[in-house]
């Protein structure tokens, strides 16, 4: 029969073995986390390139005022699919528990900067083109906000119905970026959610019917099913 005392060696071996296994699991987890953040980073870079492409085109339009309106509008709206995918990936990473937030925060900042640039270019196209048929919504949100979750659902719904005639630019107001602070100053953003619809600032939560009443006044949405 085996001894019943004197099992200290088993405790020690277990400690060593468990630590090795634990660290292996941790490393594997960190690896997978990083893989996903890297994937988002690459998608970010592609998005950045596409936005710059459009940006250059809008500059060329300003230099040569031939009627490129329809073309530019198509170009602006062509990014909506890519944005949709990227935003989904970012949200899913954000909602999970993990340890390396620093890396991800920088990726999110890059993404937001691209979005702001995209906003400027699309606004430019809309202002220059008389018969633009899309709306741009800038949506400021924060951790410290009662109705942001509901507002998010409503905006997602509108997006799914109006598809690529509605551009939504979500801005996380907690990110530490100078351009975000500047935007907040420009639109007088003090509390959240704040929604800027085609440069019109709305300082509080807007529910589904309120949003529809604002959007359905636009010429290009008037004949839509949801506006009737």
């Amino acid at each position: 029969m085996g001894k019943t005392e004197g099992n200290l060696s088993v405790y020690v071996v277990t400690l060593v073995l468990s630590t090795i296994i634990f660290v292996a699991g941790l490393l594997l987890g960190v690896y997978f986390s990083n893989v996903r953040v890297d994937e988002v980073e690459i998608k970010n870079m592609n998005l950045e390139r596409h936005i710059n492409d459009i940006g250059v085109e809008t500059l060329l339009y300003n230099e040569n005022p031939t009627d490129l309106c329809e073309f530019l509008q198509d170009r602006v709206l062509s990014l909506t699919g890519e944005l949709f995918v990227l935003e989904g990936k970012i949200i899913s990473i954000e909602s999970e528990r993990n340890l390396n937030s620093e890396n991800f925060l920088n990726v999110k900042k890059d993404y937001t900067l691209s979005l702001i640039k995209y906003y400027v270019f699309s606004q430019n196209v809309k202002q220059q083109c008389n018969n633009a048929n899309f709306s741009i919504i800038v949506y400021f949100y924060s951790k410290d906000c009662d109705k942001c979750e509901e507002q998010g659902y409503i905006l997602s719904y509108l997006k799914s119905v109006l598809k690529n005639r509605l551009l939504i630019i979500p801005i996380d107001a907690d990110l530490d970026l100078s351009s975000i602070n500047l935007l907040k100053n420009i639109y007088g953003v003090k509390k959240y959610p704040t929604i800027v619809i085609d440069s019109e600032v709305h300082n509080e939560f807007k529910n589904k019917s309120e949003m529809l009443s604002i959007l359905c006044e636009k010429v290009y949405f008037r004949n839509d099913i949801i506006c009737s």
Binding site: V10, L17, R36, S92, N98, E149, K159, N207
Partner: protein, 418 residues
């Protein structure tokens, strides 16, 4: 962030605990299936306390009569604890033929019934059997050999569930198999702290030394084991001695049983036997087993709370979405649902626990000599068991607190012996 760190600590602890028992098994692998042979067969008194067991007592007594052990060394004592059904007449059929001794007494609880039987017993060893349980033929003879070592005061058997017809019983069946593995491992480092009612054998002299069973204890089998441990004796286990016991068929019965078990455990550990924790005389028990039991409990609470929190967030989100948007829920799912990716920060640990679980299941089935064609139960068991048991523990804690402040009397008639 704090939650993540706490979660990681819990995961480390769970890995440590699982690996420890697997390593113990590795160290003592040649001793698992081997029981010492007795030099000569000691005399043994089998004591069966019975309260309203007219349907089950016959099986119990018959299993004792069929034991593979010299007849002149066995005596069977049945204590009818004031049964109001036909238990007495069923037993008298045996006592009239001289096969058992029957004590009829007024209802006083299981502990007093056992003590009465011990008083008139003649054997050197006392075996306890619940009236709803039955021995396998070769159980006793495999356990007796351990008593050659004078330091051994008790030997526990391999407890299996007698039936697995209902869903709740199927879960318990697997749980008992896992306990068989764990109990054998615990016996190797002498940390057994329960000598289960059905099928444990004690040295009579030790029982007398510690004053028999305590009628004021919810779980007299835990109490007696702890008293034995504190005296410095050993408690052993044999995997070659099967005792089959009845398990509750429905959740209501299970809840009652577990509230008694877990509440009793808490009352003993936090009350009467508090001094066994961090006790230098039994270091394995005091510094490892009970502290780890406690940490397991806290971990299970935490994980279940976390799980409920996460699920309710998802559900609340869906409800909020539905309220705000009425029919736009699909849109949001399209956006967020498709992005669920299992390859995340905790994926490594998922793999680790999957592997460890398979090892433990394989080991449990092997030691209890079961075939894994009950695969289906095992999968369900893995998902349901921990939340179920955690809930039962939480209930037990509340009931214990209530009992502590309102000292109510719990006679055996109020709770069927389980």
């Amino acid at each position: 962030m704090i939650v993540t760190i706490f979660l990681l600590l819990i995961l480390y602890f769970m890995i440590y605990s699982s690996i420890f028992w697997l390593l113990i098994m590795l160290k003592y692998r040649n001793d698992i299936f081997v029981d010492p042979k007795p030099i000569k067969c000691k005399s043994i008194s089998i004591v069966i306390p019975a309260y309203n067991e007219e349907n089950n007592i016959k099986n119990s007594i018959d299993s004792c009569l069929k034991l593979d052990y010299p007849n002149d060394k066995i005596e069977i004592i049945v204590v009818n604890d004031g049964s109001t059904d036909n238990t007495r007449s069923v037993c008298e059929k045996y006592s009239k033929k001289g096969k058992i001794k029957l004590i009829n007494k007024k209802n006083g609880g299981k502990a007093l019934a056992l003590n009465d039987a011990i008083e008139i017993s003649k054997g050197e060893l006392i075996a306890c059997l619940d009236a709803d349980s039955f021995f396998e033929r070769n159980s006793i003879k495999n356990m007796v050999g351990y008593f050659e070592d004078n330091a051994t005061a008790a030997v526990t058997s391999t407890m299996k569930a007698a039936e697995d017809s209902t869903f709740i019983q199927k879960i318990q069946y697997i749980e008992y198999l896992f306990s068989i593995y764990l109990r054998k491992m615990m016996s190797f480092i002498n940390v057994l702290y329960v000598t289960p009612g059905p099928g444990s054998i004690y040295r009579k002299s030790v029982l007398e030394e510690i004053g028999g069973f305590d009628p004021n204890n919810l779980v007299e089998d835990t109490d007696i084991a702890l008293k034995i441990q504190k005296k410095g004796y050993k408690i052993r286990n044999s995997v070659n001695s099967c005792v089959y016991t009845k398990t509750p068929e429905h959740i209501s019965g299970l809840v009652k049983q577990r509230i008694r078990w877990y509440g009793g455990y808490l009352e003993n550990i936090l009350g009467k036997h508090r001094n066994i924790i961090f006790n230098r005389k039994s270091p394995n028990l005091g510094f490892f087993l009970f502290p780890t039991n406690f940490i397991w409990l806290v971990s299970m609470f935490f994980l279940t709370l976390l799980f409920i929190y996460d699920i309710s967030n998802v559900v609340l989100g869906a409800i909020t979405n539905f309220i705000e948007v009425q029919f736009g829920v699909i849109a949001t799912y399209n956006q967020y649902g498709f992005n669920f990716n299992p390859l995340n920060f905790f994926f490594g640990f998922l793999i680790i626990f999957y592997v460890i679980s398979i090892l433990i299941i394989y080991v449990s089935f092997s030691i209890s000599r079961e075939r894994i064609n009950k695969k289906f139960h095992v999968l369900i068991y893995l998902f349901i068991y921990f939340p179920l048991i955690t809930t039962l523990w939480i209930l037990s804690v509340f009931v214990s607190i209530k009992r502590y402040f309102i000292k109510s009397d719990s006679g055996w008639e109020k709770q069927k012996a389980t």
